[in-house]
Amino acid sequence: MSETRSIRVEALTRVEGEGGLHIRLNGSEIEDVQLSIYEPPRFFEGFLRGRPLEDVPDITARICGICPVAYQMSAVHALESALGVSPGPEIRRLRRLLYCGEWIESHGLHMHLLQAPDFFGAASGIELAARFPKEVNRGLQLKKHGNTLLEVLGGRAIHPVNVAVGGFYKAPSRDQLQDLIPSFEWGLQAAIDATRWVAGFDFPDFEQPCEMVSLQHPDEYPMNEGRVVSVSGLSVDVADYEREFVESHVAHSTALHSLRTADQSSYHVGPLARINLNRDRLCDNAKRIADEIGFETPCFNRFKAIIARGLEVIHAFDEGLAILKDYQPFRPSRLPYSYRNGEGCAATEAPRGLIYHRYRITDDGKIAEAKIVPPTSQNQRQIELDLIQWLPRVMGESDQRTADECERLIRSYDPCISCSTHFLKLTVDRQSDERGPKVSL
């Protein structure tokens, strides 16, 4: 007689969303896996309508406390496209520098406090810190330097306020950026050490080829622009994003699932996708370390995303350092523009993957329509499919252990909904189960 087993993680708490996980097993058969996001929709796209376009960078930054720069960058690029404005190289470099800060703080946090504990059976970053104080402290220092850069360049670390359509409200002084050089020199070496550390973790053998999507720029590691490419050979202009990818609603999630339009298939965005598609565009230091640790690409082992993050932190410090050293103040810090009817879109690379914005604007400078596709909605379906592949390896364990292992896989994505740290309230609902009728933990 088959046994129906239901594992429910009620709350993958906090961050930019609230979600849970429900797994239904019938004997050895996986009947259903649902990564459910039940937080009420936040309607950002709706309440941007009618607002002045200048408000968009600051409002969209509020979508996420960890990656506000990604929302700001995507917004300003899309709006500038609609306005026909093309910021010059100085603004472009400062924007990359700002993005470096965000990658550093976001990846530093995830690597050391969110994902690393999973490799040591630690219940939290605090528990990990008791075993690896030097390494965790190094991670916190890396994060701190990322935040400091955001403060200097963005006005503050959380939800920066200095990003403007056309550039920056105020360009930093040379001294302000020169002061950061010592900490970035330290950070580059620390990022190398951190990447070597995580590369030595014991990774599950879980190579799962799938479609991976990221931006690709001819000359640089992708942050603010590029074509949308994939490991299966897709290569389209960002303007064609909505032709290639479509969002759909599923009953168990208030966040839309994003799929490939042609065959409604899932895909993966994030640091693994970026590295797989852009390894040759990493800085020399990151390439050298990738070779040294034997990081082979394409890599489809989701757990190794922590290594990809490490390599990207190296790149961010390396490139950030170069920009800091070369920086000369410039004027104007933002380009003038005239309102006009128009529409523009842009995609950038948030720490956790490609993010797409499109805006339609009116000739009085108001938002008529907004569309925002964050990384997590693009990864949701792929996470569910990965769990289906992962479950046969872990479902023989207790419900709690099975849930822990599933969370571990989810955390490797660094989804904004996950918040990763030990957020579980587990209820187990067993039917025809010799282990007991109903258990609540």
Partner: protein
């Protein structure tokens, strides 16, 4: 070599109702301590920010809102380090759990990725180290909904809390410079 101790006073909060209590408290302190070079006052939304601000700090005061507790006091002073003992190793440590329970709803505030104030203090202890003295000032509130104004009860408690902390700061200064 100077024996001046560097003091960080951090207000945790948000713009929502009584959750403004921590910010209100430290702003009142900032207004009255602007001549004190040894005091740094900062506001934050998430406790994790604290980890970036601890360099060279000898004394830390954290002002934060908490939910009503069954007592007549409207704000509470908690000496973290003396309550914790000398070393906190992890969040399974009995003393941390005890403190968490005692502080009750301070721990309910969740910062980035579930790092509440208790977790952040424990993390700092385990990594970069905490300042020599850590005190938490918990100001009671009851309404924390977006768009709410701060209640008069909590506003008064925040002012009283700020004045109490100011008195301590001034007393410490007088002891150093009689």
């Amino acid at each position: 070599m100077s024996d001046t101790k560097r003091i960080l006073i951090m207000g945790l909060g948000s713009p929502h109702g009584d959750d403004q209590a921590g910010w209100l408290t430290v702003r009142r302190i900032a207004d009255r301590c602007d001549q004190r070079a040894d005091i740094v006052v900062r506001t934050a939304v998430i406790p994790m920010d604290l980890l970036d601000w601890l360099d060279d700090i000898d004394i830390l005061h954290v002002c934060d809102a908490c939910q009503r507790m069954p007592s007549n006091d409207r704000y509470h002073r908690i000496d973290w380090k003396s309550r914790q003992g000398s070393t906190v190793r992890n969040d399974n440590h009995p003393s941390v759990i005890s403190a968490g329970r005692e502080m009750n709803l301070l721990t309910q505030r969740r910062g980035s990725h579930d790092f509440g104030l208790v977790e952040v203090l424990a993390l700092a202890e385990a990594t970069c180290g905490l300042p020599e003295f850590v005190t938490i000032w918990a100001i009671e509130g009851s309404g924390f909904q977006p768009g709410d104004e701060i209640s008069e009860v909590t506003r008064t408690a925040a002012v009283d809390c700020a004045d109490k902390l100011l008195t301590e700061l001034q007393a410490d200064q007088c002891m150093k410079n009689p």
